[in-house]
């Protein structure tokens, strides 16, 4: 039998006699326990925090909720991971769920980063808040690890090879490299073992590591030091910072508003404008021509691209993390307004620019640079994934044998196809101008092989500069017109 007195006594020192009105105060005191009742007015001042810490926590909550629901459908085995992700689109609100989780994760990384930049700019990592900064940095690494481990789970070519290359970096570490690699991948290459490891990391280990750390982080901000007040004139400081606002209703209502607004925008974007990407299923036997790191690690790819060897690049990748972690310990001067910290401002600006430039480089590296016929074909008709031939609607693919670069007067072709042929022609001309081959001609053959199924063959004859014989290269893709009549954005191209 429930014994309220006993229960109470075990929780608190004193006994309460009346049990009937315990529920509501019980609940509210639970929440007030989590969060202080009163805050300095500066806490809810937008210009102070940009609410970035709040948004980070909110996106984390979105990830936890959608993630748990996704676990119901996801199977972490190479044989069915891809299918289980694909099949989500056939589950009511499954696509929505997946898109939310993907977009939420990207936003989590972004907002955690911006939050960090905000804290750095306002100099709030100094003095007693050093340890808060430390927990925050570790949280940021954990968020990156969460994003990276989740990236593998759809098990498509893009994620498989990105993670293969990403984990491969660790192999360059002297001594422990190969050992670490084996632990991460669960074998010489990522297979069933590796997928399961990443899954366990993503849904158990990393979240379990994040939660207590977040508790400490938040405890230190909310209970121990409060949010650092804006540094400004003494007069304003007194008026602003000594004023407090209470959790209920002021802070809570503001947070609820932000939550509702964010959810509204998130769901609207996901329902009408965004689809989480899913490429070709992972194929460990076929290395794609372009391997692209997830966007938040593109800078590392850029770095690898310009570094002659892996080990120095790896050092360059890890060092900024350490510098970040220890920032409050080597920047020990008194907290001052941003404007009065020119060296810090310069360093921050340079780092951010460097990050952007490297990211840009990383994104560029996957572009093929040589103009050999194979790479040319590869750009026009990639072996994996979608190229220009996929940009046309099914009905725009006019049947026939279309010669690239000639004027067509006889057959009527769709304007989209006309543009595509012009595009292919311009690429071919570009290649010809690079003087790799002396002569080339191409045809695009479009035929129907089954109802609503077309085969598109790009056949290219080239005469290489150094040889007299013409060679033919060809690539084929298939397109379907299933469900083309439906108007929805949910339909992937």
């Amino acid at each position: 039998m429930y014994n309220g007195d006993f229960f109470q006594s075990s929780l608190r020192g004193q006994q309460r006699v009346e049990a009937k009105s315990q529920v509501l105060p019980g609940i509210s005191s639970f929440f007030f326990h989590l969060r202080p009742r009163h805050y300095p007015a500066g806490s809810i001042q937008f210009s102070n925090t940009l609410y970035l810490g709040f948004f980070t926590a909110l996106f984390l909550a979105v990830e936890v909720v959608t993630g748990i629901l996704l676990m119901v459908y996801y199977t972490p085995t190479p044989a069915s991971a891809y299918q289980s992700v694909q099949a989500l689109a056939l589950v009511p609100f499954g696509q929505l769920l997946r898109d939310l989780h993907r977009l939420g994760g990207d936003l989590l990384v972004l907002s955690a980063f911006l939050h960090m930049v905000r804290v750095a700019i306002s100099g709030s990592y100094k003095g007693p808040r050093r340890f808060t900064w430390l927990t925050g940095s570790v949280l940021f690494f954990l968020v990156l690890a969460l994003a990276f481990s989740g990236y593998l789970l759809p098990w498509d070519q893009l994620s498989y090879w990105a993670v293969t290359v990403g984990t491969g970096l660790f192999g360059a570490l002297p001594g422990i490299g190969s050992w670490l690699l084996e632990i991460l991948r669960g074998g010489p290459e990522i297979g069933a073992g590796g997928l399961l490891r990443f899954y366990v990391l993503h849904v158990v280990l990393l979240p379990v590591a994040v939660l207590p750390l977040l508790a400490v982080h938040y405890y230190r901000v909310a209970r121990l030091h409060g949010i650092s007040p804006p540094i400004c004139t003494a007069a304003r400081r007194n008026s602003d910072n000594l004023r407090t606002v209470s959790l209920w209703p002021t802070v809570a209502v503001r947070e609820l508003q932000l939550t509702l607004l964010t959810l509204f925008l998130l769901i609207a974007i996901v329902a009408f404008a965004y689809d989480a990407p899913l490429g070709e299923p992972a194929n460990p036997l076929r290395t794609p021509s372009h391997i692209e790191a997830p966007w938040f690690f593109l800078w590392a790819q850029g770095l690898l691209g310009i570094c002659p060897a892996t080990l120095p690049a790896l050092v360059l990748i890890i060092t900024p993390g350490l510098l970040l972690l220890l920032l409050p310990w080597y920047d020990r001067r008194q907290r001052r307004p941003f404007g009065q910290r020119p060296w810090f401002a310069l360093a921050l600006l340079v780092s951010l620019c460097l990050l952007l430039v490297l990211t840009f480089l990383g994104a560029r590296i996957q572009q093929p640079i040589s103009h050999s016929p194979e790479t040319l074909l590869d750009a026009l008709v990639p072996v994996d994934g979608h190229g220009p031939l996929h940009t046309l609607a099914y009905d725009e693919l006019t049947l026939g044998v279309h010669t690239v670069g000639s004027v067509r007067t006889d057959t009527k072709i769709s304007s989209g196809l006309e543009q595509l042929l012009t595009f292919i022609d311009s690429r071919l001309r570009g290649a010809a101008e690079s003087q790799r081959f002396s002569e080339s001609s191409s045809v695009l053959i479009i035929e129907t092989i089954q109802p609503e199924v077309k085969r598109i063959t790009l056949r290219q004859s080239v005469r290489l500069k150094d040889s007299t014989a013409a060679r033919t290269f060809e690539r084929t893709v298939y397109r379907h017109g299933f469900g083309e009549t439906s108007l929805l954005s949910g339909a992937k191209k």
Binding site: R254, T448, V453
Partner: protein
């Protein structure tokens, strides 16, 4: 101030509810569209895998290739085949099961093979083949999608295709070598005096495409070597019993010698 904040909260709450309502309304249509798209995607994947793996025995349009493999885009396959083999489930399951497990022995004497290897190898990964389960399903969807054209309910437009020109010099060179060692004993070429066991292959690159309706030049040359009886050149009807065309060669050698012959037009 307080009142305004609360009104704002109510407004945001209502807006979110409206959005959820609209999204909910559309979900059914989205599901239908997604199902259609995925069905199409499976057929398209199947088409690619078929062309990579199955075409060389069952023909590029599923028309069957001599003794190598039976027709699949065929009325009998869609109407009578299940009863013929006593299959009790659906045809798509028959296709998937056959493809996954391959065939050790043919059910019809025409496809008997040489009695030492499976007439069709198994394709599923867990049976020793190269394809994942979803790929087997995709191929089966593609094969099943031939139904309408096989039964004649839909007739597809045909276009005149330019002949594929397999002009890779390295392959042609390798093919020339294969020809000298394995074929020259029976076949002559204008610049290569050879044996008299078979017809001269002068101009075969052009002639091949006209020999059997529906077979491309490439397929015809392959067939001549693989299934000598499928089409017999005039005047060789008797000889073939003892001196039929053909030689023991690997797939790569056959590819190469085919490319070599196609160039000789």
């Amino acid at each position: 101030m307080e009142g305004r904040e609360r009104r704002r909260l109510t407004f945001l709450g209502l807006a979110l509810c409206c959005l959820l309502f609209i999204v909910g309304q559309q979900e059914e249509r989205r599901l239908e569209a997604a199902a259609a798209v995925q069905a199409g995607e499976a057929v398209v994947t199947g088409a690619r895998l078929y062309s990579e793996n199955c075409r060389k025995c069952h023909g590029s349009r599923g028309e069957g290739l001599g003794q190598l493999g039976p027709a699949l885009a065929d009325q009998h396959f869609f109407t009578g085949r299940m009863a013929e083999v006593g299959w009790l489930l659906d045809l798509d399951q028959y296709v998937a099961a056959t493809v996954a497990g391959g065939r050790m022995m043919a059910t019809r004497p025409l496809y008997a093979g040489n009695g030492t290897t499976a007439v069709m190898p198994p394709w599923a990964l867990d049976q020793g083949g190269p394809l994942r389960v979803d790929e087997i399903i995709a191929i089966s969807r593609f094969v099943m999608h031939w139904r309408a054209t096989a039964l004649g309910t839909i007739i597809l437009p045909v276009i005149d295709l330019p002949p594929a020109d397999r002009g890779d010099p390295a392959t042609i060179k390798a093919g020339g070598k294969v020809f000298s060692t394995l074929c020259l004993s029976c076949h002559a070429l204008p610049d290569l005096p050879g044996g008299q066991g078979g017809p001269t292959l002068a101009g075969i690159g052009v002639a091949a495409s006209g020999r059997t309706p529906g077979l491309s030049a490439t397929e015809y040359i392959r067939q001549s070597v693989l299934i000598p009886d499928a089409f017999v050149v005039e005047g060789y009807d008797e000889k073939t019993d003892t001196q039929g065309c053909g030689a023991l060669l690997s797939e790569v050698q056959l590819e190469a010698v085919t490319a070599f012959l196609l160039q000789r037009n």
